[in-house]
């Protein structure tokens, strides 16, 4: 598959501190690429470098197969929509007037305004001054502005910031549907669950380093299930199965078997029952994405 964005050893230093460190991003065409990381991991800086807003200290960026440079900048920006950090707007103008400015600059016919306003469901507010908008409305306006002119690539930095739950759901569905219209989306977030719900591919960044990058399916393989046991005497059952050579693991006050076949589960339950231990529950558990993050970085990260 073609990559729409490729970066090669992309690095940005501020005051000798590497905020983004030798990043090799590969964003496949037609994907929703979830760019995941805690606050301050370097997500916004990376996105700003992809747009040429911030100049890299080292490395190379290729977008649509072209090297991002002063000469190719316009060519690339023409096919790109973006919402970085917080939405940009002119407060003394109405939402519609704000979009007209973008239309002029992007050379997009003004009839496209109604389409994008409909997509983000804010036709009713379009004539209100933006300074009177709620945070969620400004966010919607920012997304609408990014969608103007149906760009081939969309960069969205935490697009669901400030939205209510219904709004979050709407925007997620909107983003999920974009690849059908030939739009590749790079969406950043600090919420694993959110990326899980809309992305097809994932890159995880921590302290400027890319610590994981692959399809969401592969990420889920890291979250293979485990079988949690709850019995009348957990400690005794754990000792019993452990001496029987099974790979049981203790966790707080019960234990689990990691990624095992049905036969082994049956065997384990049988042994417990034979030893007179009552088995209350045998439940299959997905590893949470927090756990995956922990296993990838080897340290606790608050997300």
């Amino acid at each position: 598959m073609n990559n729409i964005i490729t970066t090669n050893a992309l690095t940005k230093e501020y005051d000798h501190k590497k905020v983004v460190n030798t990043l090799d991003l590969h964003v496949p065409e037609g994907s929703v690429y979830g760019f995941l990381g805690p606050n301050g991991a370097g997500k916004s800086t990376t996105l700003k470098m992809l747009l040429g807003l911030v100049k890299p200290t080292g490395g190379e960026i290729r977008v649509f197969g072209k090297k991002l440079s002063q000469e190719n900048r316009l060519e690339i920006l023409k096919q790109t929509g973006s919402l970085i950090e917080a939405p940009s707007y002119y407060g003394h103008l109405s939402g519609k007037e704000n979009l007209r400015i973008i239309c002029k600059l992007k050379n997009v016919p003004e009839k496209d305004i109604m389409r994008v306003l409909h997509l983000v469901r804010m036709e009713k507010q379009m004539d209100k001054k933006v300074k009177n908008y709620s945070l969620g409305m400004k966010q919607r306006l920012g997304i609408a502005a990014a969608l103007l002119g149906s760009p081939r690539l969309l960069l969205l930095d935490e697009p669901t910031n400030g939205l209510d739950p219904a709004g979050i759901q709407e925007i997620r569905e909107l983003i999920r549907d974009l690849p059908e219209h030939g739009i590749t989306v790079l969406v950043s977030s600090h919420l694993l669950a959110e990326i899980d719900q809309m992305a097809t591919d994932v890159g995880i960044i921590d302290k400027g380093h890319l610590i994981f990058q692959d399809s969401l399916v592969i990420l889920h393989e890291h979250s293979r299930s485990r079988i949690l046991f709850q019995t009348s005497d957990n400690e005794a059952a754990f000792r019993l199965l452990n001496t029987a050579g099974m790979s049981v693991k203790w966790e707080t006050d019960s234990f689990y078997l990691d990624h095992v076949s049905d036969d082994i589960v049956m065997d384990a339950v049988g042994q417990c029952v034979n030893a007179g231990i009552g088995v209350f529950r045998v439940t299959e558990q997905q590893k949470s994405l927090e756990d995956i993050f922990l296993s990838l970085t080897g340290k606790q990260v608050s997300l």
Binding site: G52, L74, I84, E85, Y89, Y90, L105
Partner: protein
Amino acid sequence: MLYRCIQAENLKLKHSVIYLAFLVIPIIPAIMGTFNYMQNLELLKSGWYSLWTQITLFYASFFYAPLIGIYCSYTWRLEHTHNNWNTFMSMPVSIVSSYLAKLVCIMKVTVLTQLWISILFFIGGKMCGLPGIFSPEIILWLLRGTLAAVTIASLQLLLSMLIRNFAIPIGIALFGSIAGMFMTNADLGNFWPYSLMMLGMNSNQNEDVLSSFAGTASFFASVILFFLLFFGCAVWWLRTKDVRS
């Protein structure tokens, strides 16, 4: 592309009261200058020329730069607030066009202000009962002043882009202009951008200060070089510096 950028700039300036300042402020020197001329008829004997110096001396030497500074600060304030730098710099238009669009809007205001002050000058002259129309020489001075004004505008636009505060560039403009008066008196006006307006408008004496060829040439050279310098600095800065917002 430039035309689209200018249209976008015009849209941004909707609903702002900025034009009011340009209508009101020049009226002050026009009234005062005319009044002062009437009071001192025994000293000021050169008719239209005397009135010209009375009306434009303070306008050209002290007030044009801060006035255009307000305008420059306002157009950049729009970008400095609410994260607009990100959008401003990620639109598919060249940096030169984006910047030039702002400059063109300011030139437009400058030209209108010059026109307005000349209309006020004419009305003032008629009210004092001056005969006929002012001499074409004064129109030449107005045009020269406009060129100098554009150079000052390009400096103010640069300052307001770099300094993210509304008022400081305006303060700099006033101090620069006052210093400009001294520079003009010390015959160093061509080396100080804020002096160029007064030289161009010829607003401190009746005879043309730039009557000699050398004087005219160095004035125009100075106007053009300063303009290129400020414009170049701005574009270089936009090209190479990171957007911070």
